[in-house]
């Protein structure tokens, strides 16, 4: 986050690659540098500066902040095949290969999904993502506007640039959590500090160091596995208890075996006792049968 450059000082190609890295649709190849700077400001610095608060008079920001709803009603035909597929997947449709003959079908499907499900499904997390993910679709319209009057916007660009710089330079030493809250002001704080937001659209590219403010480093799979195992293990005090029980039993057995003389009579007496008990009822039975046969 502290690493923010002045986009106006970057080269055109650098701006271009930044935009690509942030999934922003590029303006036509012949566009002026100002256009790139503007796009850069709007999409990249905004996500870096992370200030979406509504008390912002900046006209550029208002464009985005004003109508996040419109961003969902995007134009699927402007998407690349891959983005189309990703979006469909996000709406729970597993798209097949998107080729010339199937593309129209999938576009229509996505349009339908966006119209029907878009408004209901929007939750806070998705709202937050709107700023990054669907900006690329807004681009088409904005490009046209900007091309029509690039001169007039130049001043605004300079203004926006200053504002952005101020904002970016303002809180260099703040703790990570506050920054996160600035980014997602509406997000509820979760105990784990992990928010359920869909994929992060920003990738590192063009030798740009990425500085995310992660609340926690993600847990590696091995750690997760270990935790899973630990959850199923018997608590340690029960393990100790069982250990001592086994030791005691073994000790008793060894003592008994050592003076076997005392054990043998005991065992024999047990045997005799069980024999006598089994023997007597058997005798009774035979007597009964004898008597029964005698009566007959």
């Amino acid at each position: 986050m502290p690493f923010v450059e002045d986009p106006a000082q970057l080269s055109k190609s650098r701006l271009k690659s930044d935009l690509v890295a942030h999934h922003v649709a590029l303006p036509p190849a012949a566009s002026k540098k100002e256009l790139y700077v503007e796009l850069h400001l709007k999409h990249i610095d905004q996500s870096n500066c992370a200030d979406f608060s509504s008390d912002d008079e900046d006209p550029v920001h208002d464009v985005v902040g004003e109508d996040p709803e419109n961003a969902t009603v995007l134009d699927p035909s402007a998407l690349t095949d891959k983005d189309l597929k990703d979006l469909l997947l996000k709406h729970g449709v597993k798209a097949g290969p998107i080729v010339a003959s199937t593309r129209a079908v999938y576009e229509k499907k996505l349009r339908k999904l966006l119209q029907s499900g878009g408004k209901e499904e929007l939750n806070e997390a998705e709202n937050a993502v709107l700023y990054s993910d669907s900006d690329e679709e807004e681009e088409g319209d904005e490009n046209k506007e900007e091309q029509e009057e690039p001169e007039g916007e130049q001043e605004q660009t300079a203004e926006a640039l200053k504002l952005n710089q101020q904002r970016c330079n303002k809180p260099p030493q703040e703790p990570e959590n506050d920054i996160l809250k600035e980014i997602f002001p509406d997000t509820n704080a979760t105990p784990t500090g992990i928010y359920a937001t869909p994929r992060r659209p920003i990738k590192g590219a063009a030798q740009r160091p990425i500085q995310y403010a992660y609340p926690k480093t993600p847990v590696s799979p091995t750690t997760l596995e270990r935790r899973e195992v630990e959850r199923r293990l018997v608590p340690i005090y029960i393990q100790i208890l069982v250990f001592f029980t086994v030791v005691y039993v073994l000790y008793v057995i060894s003592v008994i075996v050592e003076d076997g003389s005392s054990v043998m009579p005991l065992l024999e007496s047990l045997n005799q006792w069980s024999d006598s008990e089994e023997g007597s009822p058997a005798l009774d039975e035979t007597q009964d049968t004898h008597s029964a046969s005698g009566e007959l």
Binding site: K94, A95, G96, V99, S101, T102, A104, V105, K108, K109
Partner: protein, 90 residues
């Protein structure tokens, strides 16, 4: 589509080979002509489209409506017979 048509049974009963699009249930002469104009000259080519759409009958129905101007009944019938053909022969 409570009962399947004779055309449907005929199509599902055997491999499609080189049958024309008219062999598909729900595809009459008009629809066949429109499909052929767009390069779908054989039933197997239509099957290819069906497979590209992951055998999704809903998507295929939409596609057929868009491309050939089929109505829901025609598109549904065609999708069903392709689906059953796939179940039998793929």
């Amino acid at each position: 589509m409570s009962s399947t048509s004779q055309k449907h049974k005929d199509f599902v009963s055997e491999p499609m080979g080189d049958k024309p699009v008219t062999a598909l249930s729900g595809i009459g002469d008009t629809l066949a002509k429109r499909l052929e104009e767009q390069g779908f000259d054989k039933a197997s080519v239509v099957l290819g489209q069906f497979l590209l759409l992951r055998k999704d009958m809903e998507l295929f129905t939409d596609w057929l409506k868009d491309t050939a101007g089929a109505n829901s009944r025609q598109a549904g019938s065609c999708a069903l017979c392709l689906k059953e053909w796939c179940d039998a022969f793929l």
